[in-house]
């Protein structure tokens, strides 16, 4: 039972649970104590610093007044919250504070939300009766995101604590002392020269106008802004954000600390990368290419032209000469409609999307091992794991908010973090073991760990016996992978493999977190199966804070897969070769569904190049930059007879189109996104789209109508209702239920609360299946001619092919161009310095790019991002495919590096 404490506050007897602060106890009986530096809103994250001394109260028997925000109640305490003595002390303290505050509230951005203003109002203190010196610091406007005016700072320390204890970044701290105390980075350099990642959490907790968003300056007073809750359009984390809108313009983005998986945290993209929405280059009208030039036209014309063209192609070459790329950036409803359009209207299964390029091997691998290809556990659970194995995921850059959970697990709860990654990524800072293996040797590495686990008897025998099958064949293979042998393959010292195996097997629950470093290989499916083996071997599945957790790259890549925007699977992962499944959809849609599985993304490009594929409909994707071997992609796109692209900008791919449809962004339409933890969340139409741009779902409906198949929906909730009928795991998901908080599928009926942890009692496929997996080397290995391994990935400040982030001014300013990371050892041999231009070439192409000498990659390995068209990594990558999942090997190819004379 909870211990209770009796005390008297302002003459009222009150009984409260022990451990409460005086302020909380007072609050429980409706007594308000003014406070400034402490804000109960942030209670979970920030401890009171008790530095403003506004919340002081009188306690009988105590010599001085005490800060009620932090002082715990005790039995028999007699508290006076508003005596004359208290009032006087508060007043003088506030006047002291105001005596050093620029009283420019008339023009202060924060006015209306300012907590100092609020306290001054509550205490009735209009100005200070004290005079004297004030601090006079120059206002720092040197970075694109945050204006720092420390003349307004009240030194509450919230920003310092947020940076250190929520973001684990430690970019800022108190500097100097006494009256000269100031928040500063190391050596008081500008933020952009510190470890700051511009997550903006400091801005969101700042009680005064010391930290403000640069982009909101002069664009609206706090009380004029309307807040609308929606979901961030960037990565698969699926953070809940609030758009602050005035006059149909987004003024700033904030996050509610009580809502969503992010609990108020955002990354730089989510917080500041929204100006692409109002970018002048947004597509405003449909375009038709006439004589090699795009001409604006009316919708009617563009739709009719497209429908006629598609019909013509279908008649002339058959439906399989047309293919469609759906989009992981679009909503579930749109993906559902798109694949319905391709299957029912066009009559082909040639529909795929970029999941092929990121997690096709996850879908294939986990479906084989467990029965469903999705993150087995939830994001929040990571915080309570005892051990986390992060592999092939640059979590802090690609999934920053999930990285926060992992960091919290380590820093707050003492979890052990193992990072297995060829690069020394930032997560290594938090890790107890870093296994820096050679790119493409994942299977060997994890087989080595499992070899140790078996040898030392650390496996979960009960779990293996009761819940799995195929163990014996698997064991035979793993027994061959002695750590000594594995050391020779992976380059990871034997002791480290043994240590990692012991830590993972003995700290339970242990979670595996992985991403594209695992999947984007010709052995992608094998890699995934190996991780599934590892989790099953130690019984780390079907329990909270454990599991195998693929981090999906795009905001709705999970949903796009769920919706069947895949050439071999119908919505809800029903196989296209299953006759009953086909019949179910054929009945619902009133058209026959072709039985032949369609082409995957890379296969489509191959087919187009060969002239087999004649027409393509691409919705919100940019294969020109995202697909491997871009030179070949260009040839393929050029060769198409007819290409329709639907996007918000004229992307690199759209340049090749015959027709371009202007679509709308996430802020201009209704719908749902399914994030990486299978949570279906609501996005909303908050602002009006530019000119004639239309939501993707409407465009599909209109086009379908022109093609002679009626799709009539008033709004996306009706599409969701149709999905609910056809996809059992979405059966219980309606817009009403997810108005405030999303639901995690499977959610089969209206009363189902959603499923945070999969495979609890039994696996989706019954028993978990161990797969014997042998190590196979990558397709292209370095040789004398191309001596380096190129591996690719993302950076924090950019996203995917840059369609959105390259149209965000701030993000471009802070990270303007791509670089190639080269290990210092190699740089010395090549006589290359940071900032030098180099030419990186593979057998498929070459790019000129700036070099950055970095300890992150191993010697012999170089790293590039794929965001920049000016230095497109995918001109170099190889389009060799995983035989099962058809995912290309983005992560390993051989390149050569030459200096470029300027």
């Amino acid at each position: 039972m909870e211990e209770k404490v009796k005390l008297t506050i302002d003459g009222k007897e009150v009984e409260v649970p022990a451990g409460l602060t005086i302020m909380e106890a007072a609050d429980s009986i409706g007594i308000y104590i003014p406070h400034l530096c402490y804000n109960p809103t942030y209670k979970k994250f920030l401890l009171p610093s008790s530095s403003c001394r506004i919340c002081v109260v009188e306690v009988e028997g105590m010599k001085n007044l005490i800060a009620s925000c932090s002082y715990p109640v005790s039995s028999g305490m007699v508290v006076r919250t508003n005596s004359e003595r208290v009032q006087k002390a508060r007043r003088v303290t506030l006047e002291l504070l105001l005596s050093s505050h620029p009283m420019d509230c008339m023009t202060c951005e924060i006015s209306g939300r300012c907590e100092l203003e609020k306290v001054a109002y509550e205490l009735g203190v209009p100005s200070s009766s004290f005079q004297g010196e004030r601090v006079n610091y120059p206002i720092d406007t040197s970075n694109p995101f945050i204006i720092r005016d420390y003349n307004k700072c009240i030194l509450c320390g919230r920003c310092v604590a947020a940076c250190a204890e929520i973001q684990y970044n430690n970019a800022i701290d108190f500097s100097n002392r006494g009256f000269r105390t100031k928040i500063a980075t190391a050596y008081d350099r500008p933020l952009q020269e510190s470890t700051c990642e511009f997550c903006g959490r400091c801005v969101s907790v700042c009680p005064v106008g010391a930290l403000t968003e640069k982009m909101r300056r002069g664009r609206g007073r706090e009380w004029e802004l309307k807040k609308f809750t929606t979901i961030c359009p960037y990565c698969g984390c699926g953070c809940t954000i609030e758009l602050n809108v005035k006059d149909n313009k987004i003024v700033k983005i904030t996050a509610d600390p009580f809502v969503g998986i992010n609990e108020g945290s955002l990354c730089v993209k989510g917080k500041f990368g929204y100006d692409f929405i109002s970018h002048p280059d947004r597509l405003k009208m449909p375009l038709i290419k006439k004589d090699g030039k795009f001409v604006e036209c009316r919708w009617e014309e563009a739709l009719k032209y497209t429908a006629d063209k598609l019909k013509e192609l279908k008649e002339r070459y058959g439906p399989d000469a047309i293919a469609g790329l759906s989009s992981a950036k679009c909503t579930n409803e749109e993906n559902y409609l798109f694949q319905k359009f391709m299957r029912a209207v066009t009559g082909t299964n040639n529909v795929d999307h970029c999941a092929r390029l990121c997690h096709a091997s996850t879908v294939a691998g986990l479906a084989k091992a467990f029965g469903s290809g999705a993150m087995t556990n939830s994001i929040a659970e990571l915080e309570d794991a005892k051990c986390i194995l992060v592999t092939g995921s640059n979590t802090s850059e690609a999934h920053p908010i999930i990285a926060l959970r992992i960091k919290a697990a380590v820093k707050r709860n003492g979890a052990k973090l193992i990072v297995a990654d060829p690069r020394k990524i930032d997560m290594v800072r938090f890790a107890c073991i870093h296994l820096q293996h050679r790119p493409g040797t994942d299977v060997a590495l994890f087989n080595g760990m499992m070899n140790v686990i078996l040898k030392e008897g650390l496996q979960d025998k009960e779990f293996i016996k009761n819940r799995t099958e195929g163990f014996d064949e698997f064991k035979k293979v793993v027994e061959k992978y002695d750590p000594q042998i594995v050391e020779r393959i992976t380059g990871v010292p034997e002791e480290k493999i043994i240590e990692a195996a012991r830590v993972y097997a003995t700290s339970k629950p242990a979670a595996i977190v992985y991403s594209m470093g695992i999947t984007q290989h010709t052995t992608g499916t094998d890699n995934v199966l190996t991780l599934a083996n590892l989790a099953m071997l130690t019984g780390n599945i079907g329990k909270e804070s454990s599991g195998v957790n693929p981090l999906r790259g795009q905001n709705n890549v999970q949903g796009a897969c769920d919706m069947g925007a895949l050439p071999n699977l119908l919505p809800g992962y029903l196989s296209i070769i299953d006759e009953n499944a086909r019949k179910k959809f054929a009945d619902a849609w009133g058209r026959d569904i072709p039985a032949k599985p369609g082409l995957t993304v890379v296969e489509m490009m191959h087919a187009a190049r060969k002239g087999i594929l004649k027409g393509m409909y691409i919705m919100g994707e940019n294969p020109f930059l995202s697909d491997p071997n871009a030179n070949e992609v260009r040839k393929a796109l050029e060769k198409l007879e007819f290409l329709v692209v639907q996007d918000i900008f004229l992307s690199e791919t759209a340049e090749y189109a015959n027709v371009v449809f202007p679509a709308v962004s996430f802020a201009e339409k209704d719908g749902t996104f399914t994030n990486t933890e299978r949570r279906v969340q609501r996005i909303r139409k908050i602002i009006e789209p530019p000119w004639e741009a239309k939501p993707d779902w409407q465009i599909i409906c209109l086009l379908s109508e022109k093609m002679g198949y009626e799709m009539k929906y008033e709004n996306p909730s009706e599409i969701m209702a149709e999905i609910g009928i056809l996809v059992p795991s979405y059966g219980g998901i309606t817009y009403d239920r997810i108005e405030r908080k999303g639901l995690q599928w499977p959610c089969p009926d209206k009363n189902h609360p959603g499923t945070p942890v999969l495979h609890r009692e039994k696996f989706t496929r019954g028993k978990g299946l161990f797969s014997p997996v042998e190590y196979i080397a990558p397709v292209e290995n370095p040789d004398a001619e191309y001596p380096f391994v190129l591996t690719t990935g993302r950076v924090l400040y950019h996203y995917h092919t840059g369609t959105m982030t390259r149209h965000s001014q701030g993000l471009n300013e802070i990270y303007p161009q791509g670089v190639v990371e080269i290990n210092p050892e190699d740089a010395v041999k090549l006589h290359i310095n940071t900032g030098d231009m180099v030419e990186v070439s593979s057998r498929r192409g070459s790019v000129k790019v700036k070099a950055e000498i970095s300890e992150r990659p191993l010697p012999g390995v170089v790293f590039m991002t794929f965001h920049f068209k000016e230095a497109a990594a995918n001109l170099l990558t190889i389009d060799a495919l995983d035989p099962v999942a058809k995912i290309p090997e983005f992560k390993v190819c051989a390149v050569r590096i030459n200096g470029v004379r300027s």
């Binding site: 001394r53 002390a89 004297g132 010196e133």
Partner: protein
Amino acid sequence: MIKRVEEKRILMENCVAVNLKTAEKRIFTSKNIAFLKRRYPRLKLRTGEWLPFESPDASIEGYIKKGGYKALEKVLKMKPEEVIKEIEDSQLIGRGGAAFPTGLKWKFVFKQTEKEKYFVCNADEGEPGTFKDKVLLDQSPHKIIEGMIIGAYASGASKGYIYVREEYFDSTRTIEKAIGEARDKGFLGINILDSSFSFDIKVVRGMGSYICGEETALFRSIEGRRGIPEVKPPFPTTSGLYKKPTVINNVETLANIPHIILNGARWFKSLGVEGSFGTKIFSISGNVKNPGVYELELGKFTLADLIYGLAGGIEGNRKLKAVLPGGASTRFLTKDNLDIKMDYKSLKEAGTSLGTGAVIVFDETISIPRIVKHLFDFYEEESCGSCVPCRIGTKRISEILKDIIEPATVKVGNLYGTDGANMNYLTKLKDIGMAMKESSKCGLGQSAPDPLLSSIDFFSNEYLALIKKVNGRKS
């Protein structure tokens, strides 16, 4: 005048170093004793017994010869509870200024179930006018070390730190050397004196900040963080250094421990008076003939005994004006308080406190507002800046005092009092002083206004005279 005080302060510290050789003698020299005997005919001065400050010997051989580490041997045969009981019975209270019962502190930490505990010696002696710990560090390092080992044994700590004030270069070296010697002899390290008890001490040099003498700021400083006080509770006994239960004792407190263990609580209580048992080392400075360190039984002697007896009276035989009895952060006493007994209770009753036992004496030629301004220059410099009343309060008080005292140097022009109301300045000073005293986060801000507020109580005429001059100049 200000300058003179400053010189004096520096001189005083030098003075200690110079006079150290004679310090011991001074307590017992015929001249001083003769004076005390005249005043207290029936007084029996104790000699030959071990008091914290007696028989200094920095070398381990000398210390052992005089019975050093005997208390440790005795303690290792006792149970920790018994050791704590002995200290509790002695009613020893902390000598660092806050006067918390030492035994109780040990007991709190002993009762904590955490495995890792720390024992910290606070040797960051920074209170203006205080230099007693330096003498102990220099002359009796082993007594402090022995006290720490005993304390650690009793409270269950396995790691110790001595946080020495940065400016005490020599003391740091002395204590480090002593720790090395003690380790060599098996008094420190694993299995001390072949017992199952292990304990070791690390010396940490202070970061040159007054606030680092505050216990939570001191912990942060050891941890390598910014030295600012933390929110209390939790108190160090439950969550101190590295968030573990921690005992933190002053140097002088620890120097008492071996004596209490060897001679027993009853012996200790035979010294001093009820509520203030034992002896106290006083550092006397200011306008006295013989500034220095003196050890006296608590409550047996008056302020006059200290000033006129031990310290040889006021320089130039001038008249006494004021005394800060327990360091710079205590309330002033005046010549009316000369007969006050020097112990915790009596000084508390007089509205001030014994503090660190630093008696600073001011004669009739000293301007009190100038002294207070001098002190506030110090506080303004040393305020950590964490809480509002102290950060801005010290600044504003300093500015107002400057305005009154050196109006010519104030560029902005005079802050208040243009309406001719002389009390305006004093009201502002009192308002800020009270807000600081009542609402500041730690002891620095809470006690810094004490000399200011008491000086306004006792010497308001001096302030008013200055203010009148300022207003005269303005009009």
